[in-house]
């Protein structure tokens, strides 16, 4: 017993993922003295398999390390060949996006499907009843019409950060614009009103599925200052898990659109460059995970459907699967159109510390490069989708001893390049000098958000706060708490940088329904890019 316990010992390992920015701590399970270790670059949602993988490691004599990373970052790392430097296998919700990247296919070995779950809409039961969507087939067109009429709101992950959001964009476009086959380039560029209608109802955005769920639950329970959201677009398995967890005041009704869904099939894929030992370990693990008992355990624990036929009775034999575009240019066009033209436009206020301590290339220089990256200088795949978007309203509010005068830019929908350049130029002009008035500046940002929202209410509004030190002037955290408590919430996404106070930043994030991002261990530009998934 003791020995098994020792073998099951579970260690949290800091993520490291050759070129791809890890999204958090991973997991390492299985015997520590195993002959083979399989290092897996994986989607973060797979961490829910931990107990199953721990047993799998013992049963197969393989130590398994999961290193979580976003789908598109992962695809980028595989295609560039950096993933294989320190990983043997990948395991994402889907290889479909990856397969489109030039050269990526050749880097993949055997792919073995383990389980599946479609991306569907979960709506608070009372809302689903009000819309008359319980117990009958509902199509994406009906959903888009109700969304356009503001009859419900929903949350969804950023499609450049997470496969569930990406699948949703593909499904909606294919169902609303497609003619019955995979989207063509022309269809992917479409901006028909139904698409804008559909995305107009999104009121909660997130760069990760975990944050989306937590924010949804906290808002539903009133723990977060933001308004409750009516529904979520996510994997059916995640929504079923939320219902089963019993933390929601009202269960979610699962709406699987009758005209089709996009399903994640979780292919566990060995990399072509893996050693023969790793290939063998992958094969043994995959075989173990596909044994009927383990398949049932996975289904029970994660609500995902088994990949192996006959393990469980067929759930819904006629649920239609929408064709997924297989051309890179089509997917690029679809995502670009989504970000620059279709989604609800954003309003983002960047509260940027330019105090004296920011002097130096690794501080102000890093900040200027981060802004330039968002303005289009970052040529990477993720950089392309995390730029300042068409229609976005961006305000730069530099501060030192006091908030300085804000500069606001609205990025053109048709020709965003010159506006992005102006933001980069404004960033390049920032000069470090003076003290650090964090909370005076946050309050100023709140007032700007209020004024801008009064003039133009229909936007995602958020504040990004970057400071490298503690508050030295003006209002303190207590004063800000009182200030923020009396006003409509604007989520503040705080960047931990230099000597900033982790405690205070976490408290600001908690108070406002935002979150913190750590730029002390990751490059500032990467963190700025990651935050884009939330704003």
């Amino acid at each position: 017993m003791k020995r098994i316990a020792a073998a099951l010992v579970l260690a949290l390992v800091a993520g490291c993922s050759g070129g791809a920015e890890s999204t958090g701590p991973g997991l390492a399970v299985g015997p520590t003295d195993a002959a083979a270790t399989l290092r897996v670059l994986a989607g973060s949602e797979l961490l829910d398999l931990e107990p199953v993988l721990a047993e799998a490691g013992v049963a197969t004599g393989v130590r398994i390390e999961l290193d979580p990373v976003g789908t598109i970052e992962g695809a980028e790392a595989v295609a560039a060949g950096t993933a294989e430097a320190d990983h043997d296998a990948i395991w994402f919700s889907s290889n479909r996006y990856l397969a489109l990247q030039p050269g990526a296919q050749d880097r993949l070995g055997t792919a073995i499907d383990i389980m599946s779950s479609p991306v569907v809409l979960g709506l608070r039961r009372s809302v689903a009843e009000r819309l008359g969507w319980v117990g009958r087939p509902v199509t994406w067109s009906e959903i888009a019409a109700a969304a356009g009429a503001k009859q419900f709101t929903y949350g969804m992950t950023d499609p450049s950060a997470s496969n569930s959001g990406f699948s949703a964009v593909v499904a909606v476009a294919t169902a609303l614009v497609g003619a019955g086959s995979a989207l063509t380039l022309e269809q992917a560029e479409s901006t028909v009103p139904a698409l804008r209608d559909f995305f107009a109802a999104q009121t909660l955005a997130a760069g990760s599925s975990g944050f989306l769920q937590e924010a949804f639950v906290r808002r539903a329970n009133g723990a977060d200052p933001g308004a409750p959201v009516d529904g979520l677009i996510n994997y059916e398995s995640v929504l079923q898990g939320m219902n089963a967890a019993g933390t929601l005041p009202e269960p979610l009704e699962l709406i699987r659109p009758a005209d089709g869904v996009v399903t994640a099939e979780y292919p566990f894929t060995v990399l072509a460059a893996a050693s023969p030992e790793a290939r063998d370990a992958h094969r043994r693990l995959a075989e173990y995970l596909r044994t009927p008992d383990v398949q049932r355990a996975i289904a029970e624990r994660t609500h995902r459907q088994p990949a192996v036929p006959g393990v469980l009775p067929l759930q819904s034999g006629t649920a239609v699967e929408l064709p997924f575009p297989a051309q890179a240019d089509v997917v690029d066009a679809l995502l670009t159109s989504y970000f620059d033209k279709l989604r609800r436009p954003s309003r983002t206020i960047y509260v940027l510390d330019t105090s004296g301590s920011m002097a130096g290339d690794e501080r102000i220089g890093a900040l200027q490069r981060a802004l330039a990256g968002l303005a289009g200088a970052d040529p990477s795949l993720t950089g392309q989708y995390r730029r300042f978007r068409g229609r976005e309203q961006v305000t730069l509010l530099p501060f030192s001893s006091t908030p300085e005068s804000p500069q606001t830019f609205t990025v053109s929908e048709e020709n965003p390049g010159p506006d992005r350049q102006r933001i980069a130029d404004a960033g390049a002009a920032l000069q470090p000098d003076g003290g650090t008035a964090i909370f005076d500046s946050l309050e100023a940002a709140y007032r700007i958000a209020e004024q801008q929202s009064a003039a133009d209410p229909d936007r995602f509004t958020s504040i990004v706060l970057m400071t490298d030190g503690e508050n030295t002037e003006g209002a303190d955290l207590e004063a800000f708490r009182a200030f923020a408590g009396s006003r409509p919430a604007v989520p503040v996404f705080c960047v931990l940088f230099g000597e900033s106070s982790v405690e205070e930043m976490e408290e600001v994030a908690r108070l406002t329904g935002g979150r913190t991002f750590d730029a002390r261990t990751a490059p500032l530009a990467e963190v700025f890019k990651e935050i884009r998934g939330y704003v």
């Binding site: 479909r96 397969a99 296919q105 055997t110 792919a111 499907d113 599946s116 169902a175 003619a179 019955g180 086959s181 995979a182 989207l183 005209d259 089709g260 399903t263 459907q305 088994p306 990949a307 192996v308 036929p309 006959g310 067929l314 819904s316 034999g317 006629t318 649920a319 239609v320 699967e321 929408l322 064709p323 997924f324 575009p325 297989a326 051309q327």
Partner: protein, 367 residues
């Protein structure tokens, strides 16, 4: 990684290692003594082969391994795509290559002449589908009433017109707003899709096998949408067939697979075919001729055994393949009390490997 080790914990590790080593010695002695009571097994020759992945289940079958062992052979198998076997797989160190089609074998032969090749079994391309779909296809004139014949020409007409399921007359069983398209694998990666390309190009070429690049360039544009319009395609026929089995009609209303996959499932002691599963045969169809190319004398022995050993033929039949001797296939069905699949008459030859490669290149596949 670990906490500062220090000399003391180093010593502890050492003593653990010693203990483990001791346990190992004891275990070895015990096991040797136990094993010593059994008769000495004959010396086995290890034979390594690279095979088309659809034969993986056959070669993993313990009974197949035992049958080879009885002849003194221990098989080590690496599965790979048949196209890869003919092009990119490095064959040094292998005793035989066993791709799933004759064109791939011909290509191999051109590079490494062998005295002879072996084609111990084959399997026709078939359409795995569901009873309601068969009914719809019958009404649409793709399936002759009461038959299992899938008229490829009529199907290509429907596909060319961009017909959706919900546009088929009288369709209440499957009114999906989705094109009537056979689900296939990715042609760049999978042999079954290449065989489908052979069938579709034959029909598009006014019932003639495409034999040169000029004709290939003429017919490829008309067959390209059959793949492109499906969007993302599964990499292997195993994945496609598993989707058919586990996700049902909505995901895969009809799939182009090997007959062997469906038959193996039907013949298995524990079949997981859906209750309304049906198998149709394209007309024309192509036989995927699994062709073993020996690279060493040991590999030649494997080919010979597969062709001559009645037990291996019977096992191949159980795995759904049609062995050279048709009696083995018939027996497998008789033993299960199931009707034997029809003898197929409308069978055409696949294009040569180079012509297929030419068409694949036109579809955007890189070598």
């Amino acid at each position: 990684m670990t906490a500062p080790a220090g000399r003391r914990s180093g010593r502890r590790v050492l003593s653990w290692l010693l203990a483990l080593a001791l346990l190992g010695v004891i275990g070895f002695v015990v096991l040797r003594d136990v094993g010593g009571q059994e008769p000495e097994p004959p010396a086995l020759t290890v034979v390594t082969g690279v095979i088309g992945s659809e034969k993986d289940a056959f070669f993993s079958d313990q009974r197949v391994r035992d049958a080879f062992r009885a002849h003194g052979l221990e098989l080590k198998i690496d599965p790979a795509g048949s196209r890869q076997i003919a092009t990119t797989v490095r064959l040094e160190g292998y005793d035989f290559a066993f791709p799933s089609s004759s064109p791939a074998a011909d290509k191999l032969l051109a590079q490494r002449p062998a005295a002879r090749t072996y084609a111990p079994f084959s399997s026709p391309m078939a359409v795995a589908t569901f009873a309601p779909i068969v009914e719809l296809l019958t009404q649409a004139g793709v399936v002759a009433p009461g038959s299992t014949t899938f008229d490829v020409r009529r199907y290509l007409e429907l596909a060319a017109a961009g017909t959706r399921w919900d546009q088929l007359p009288g369709n209440t069983a499957f009114p999906a707003r989705k094109d009537v398209l056979l689900s296939t694998t990715a042609p760049c990666q999978s042999n079954s899709a290449a065989m489908y390309l052979g069938i579709a190009s034959y029909v598009a070429n006014a019932d003639g096998v495409v034999t040169d690049q000029t004709v290939a360039a003429q017919v490829t544009p008309s067959v390209q949408p059959l793949f492109r319009d499906q969007g993302y395609l599964p990499p292997t026929t195993e994945v496609l067939f598993e989707d058919y089995l586990s996700a049902g009609m909505g995901r895969v209303p009809m799939a182009l697979v090997y007959e062997a996959q469906y038959v193996a499932e039907a013949l298995s002691p524990d079949p997981v075919l859906p209750a309304d599963a049906r198998l149709l045969y394209p007309s024309p169809t192509i036989f995927s001729r699994h062709t073993l190319v020996p690279l060493t004398p040991a590999g030649d022995r494997v080919g010979e055994l597969l062709t001559t050993d009645p037990q291996l033929a019977a096992l191949a039949a159980e795995h759904g393949f049609r062995p050279t001797d048709p009696r083995a296939f018939a027996a497998a069905f008789r033993d299960r009390g199931l009707p034997e699949p029809p003898a197929l008459v409308d069978v055409v030859e696949p294009p040569s490997f180079d012509t297929l490669e030419g068409m694949l290149a036109l579809l955007g596949c890189t070598p």
